[in-house]
């Protein structure tokens, strides 16, 4: 399994990570090595094995539809890098 730098850039874009060229090279090598190591799971016969995304056998864990107060506006925005007029504020939406 060899991950190209192109693939690394694609994955970085999916993950919304700005990587330096050095990081791209490093991750291409390291992720390839990790995936090589992970190849050993491919030899396991799992044809009739269900996946285990949940280790517990829980189901139907729900709550009643009862509202309760949350945070006031000041508390909601208190950790925000930028806000204005009660809104979270971010720089212009579109690029390119």
């Amino acid at each position: 399994m060899h991950l190209t730098q192109e693939e690394v850039r694609h994955v970085a874009e999916l993950a919304k990570l700005r990587l330096t060229e050095a990081e791209v090279r490093q991750y291409a090598a390291q992720l390839s090595a990790i995936l090589d190591y992970a190849e050993r799971i491919q030899e396991v016969d799992t044809s009739s094995v269900p996946p285990t995304p949940y280790v517990l056998g829980l189901e139907n864990v729900m709550r009643d539809d009862e509202p309760q107060p949350g945070l006031d506006n000041e508390a909601a925005l208190s950790n925000a890098p930028d806000s204005a007029n009660g809104f979270f504020r971010v720089r212009a939406v579109f690029e390119e």
Binding site: N60, Q68, F88, V90, A92
Partner: protein, 498 residues
């Protein structure tokens, strides 16, 4: 340019599939207990650490939202999944706090439904429902002056997604499907269905294909149209897109698979800038939420809560009460109207064509008053009118027993609408009771004949159509209160006395 191509439309088949997002009318959000009453609230005041996506917080499923979705699935003829699983749909946008939307992917709550859509021309077409699933709404951003302003009040409101198969072949069908769907949602009480308020959002996938493509089981390139704010806009957008795509094909071009927006002012679709380059959503099961197991017993419990739905009501009105399809349609579109109608019939009676007479009064006179009331053309206002169904029944009874004539009835209704008073009281107070005393009528007829000798002569000379003229004069002389049948009879007798 577009008009020129319409005559060749028959060469192409329109193929439309619909994705409809519906906000559920729960009191709290889908995965946290923030209130959903964000309409008109200041920004970021219906939020908590969970719906703000703060680190370490966890979602908890709102049972009512699950049941509302199952209820909708049942009403749309779906199979209810034995196991349903929430999944994370990964994409990036500032109004998506966690960087993923909790949705459903491989195992939605409801699948394989079918809705029969009745068209104005009397035909019916089946539209298959591929799936109904449950997810959470995103927040909203306002873009201004190089900034985006993010309000997360809406983030986490329960959102139901209904996806149809590509079974829609005309804009009319799409329109009928959507109005029918909204009607069902309102009957179920699961959503307001208000498109203008964003409680219902429709995204049609529109394509056209040639008979040859159809024969090969192929489809044309799909164009998805977003931000449609009314059913009319959906209809217009489909019509516009169909013509645009046919135009492109006929001029030798190829339709591009893109997302379009709808420009309401210019009544045309416009290419949408893509938010995000990638549509690799990397769905995987949401580890924070154990699966839902929809037992037979639970589903039956929900099924038992289903009300009579509009289609069934319409059929019953026609079958049991002899209503004409037009009025049956008009009365069943909104559950509140049907409810009013049924209350009125219960008070008025089911015999002798009474339901049809009541239907005429509601769809004619009462609708006229509601429409004129300034609040917009929304028949759900029937729930707020000051007239009780039993009062309307009493009004019709006054007409039936000839206490008042139908024209006076309309005047009384106007007063009832304004005051909420009983019709009997209004008739007594305003002195509107009909005059059937023949001596009063005779007196009126005699004075009319005496005052119009020329017309009388022409009538007696054979110009019998002047009867209407005399009748009008008599009604005017009695201020409309004369029993029209009695007046007609005496007028005839006195005119014919030579």
């Amino acid at each position: 340019m577009l008009a020129a191509t319409t005559k060749s439309d028959t060469r192409y088949e329109l193929v439309v599939g619909m994705e409809v997002h519906v906000q559920l009318l729960t009191r709290s959000k889908m995965f946290c207990r923030c209130a959903t009453d964000y309409a008109g609230a200041p920004p970021n005041t219906r939020v908590c650490p969970v719906c703000l996506g703060m680190p370490g917080t966890l979602p908890v499923i709102n049972r009512d939202a699950v049941e509302a979705t199952v209820k909708t699935g049942l009403a749309l003829g779906c199979e209810i999944a034995e196991t349903a699983v929430f999944a994370r749909k990964n994409y990036t946008y500032p109004d998506l706090p966690k960087g993923y939307q909790i949705s459903q992917f491989e195992l939605p709550l409801c699948i394989h439904g079918r809705v029969d859509v009745d068209l104005p021309d009397g035909s019916t077409s089946p539209i298959r429902v591929r799936r109904v699933h449950l997810e959470e709404d995103t927040g909203r951003s306002v873009h201004e002056g190089g900034y985006s302003y993010v309000d997360l009040n809406r983030a986490g409101v329960p959102l139901m997604e209904i996806v149809t198969e590509a079974d829609i072949h005309s804009a009319e069908q799409a329109y009928a499907f959507l109005t029918g769907l909204r009607s069902v949602l309102r009957y179920l009480g699961v959503s307001s269905g208000d498109m203008e308020k964003g409680a219902m959002r429709c995204e049609p996938n529109i394509s056209v294909r040639t008979p040859e493509q159809k024969a090969r089981g192929e489809y044309g390139a799909k164009v998805e149209v977003k931000n449609l704010n009314s059913f009319r806009a959906v209809r217009s957008a489909i019509e516009y897109e169909m013509r645009r795509q046919i135009d492109v094909l006929q001029s030798g071009g190829a339709v591009e698979q893109v997302n379009m927006g709808w420009d309401e002012e210019r009544q045309r679709t416009v290419l949408q800038r893509t938010k995000e380059s990638s549509d690799d959503y990397r769905y995987f099961p949401e580890p924070d939420l154990p699966p839902l197991a929809l037992s037979r017993a639970w589903v039956d419990e929900i099924r038992a809560e289903l009300p009579e739905l509009p289609g069934a009501k319409r059929a019953r009105y026609i079958r049991d009460w002899g209503l004409r399809p037009t009025e049956a349609d008009a009365l069943t579109g909104e559950s509140l109207v049907a409810c009013f109608f049924e209350g009125a019939v219960a008070a008025y009676g089911e015999e002798d064509g009474k339901p049809q007479r009541m239907a005429n009064w509601i769809t004619g006179e009462l609708f006229r008053l509601i429409y004129a009331d300034g609040e917009g053309q929304d028949l759900r206002q029937i729930a707020d009118v000051r007239i009780a169904p039993a009062q309307l029944a009493a009004l019709l009874a006054l007409i039936d027993d000839k206490t008042i004539n139908p024209n006076t009835g309309k005047k009384v209704l106007d007063i009832m609408y304004a005051t909420g008073d009983d019709p009997q009281d209004i008739v007594a107070r305003e002195g509107l009771a009909m005059v059937s005393d023949t001596s009063v009528i005779d007196e009126a007829v005699a004075s009319i004949l005496a005052a119009n000798p020329a017309e009388l002569a022409r009538y007696r000379g054979g110009e019998t159509k002047l009867f209407g003229f005399f009748m009008g004069q008599v009604m005017r002389a009695t201020q409309g209160k004369a029993d029209p049948n009695a007046a007609r009879q005496r007028l005839q007798e006195l005119l014919d006395e030579a």
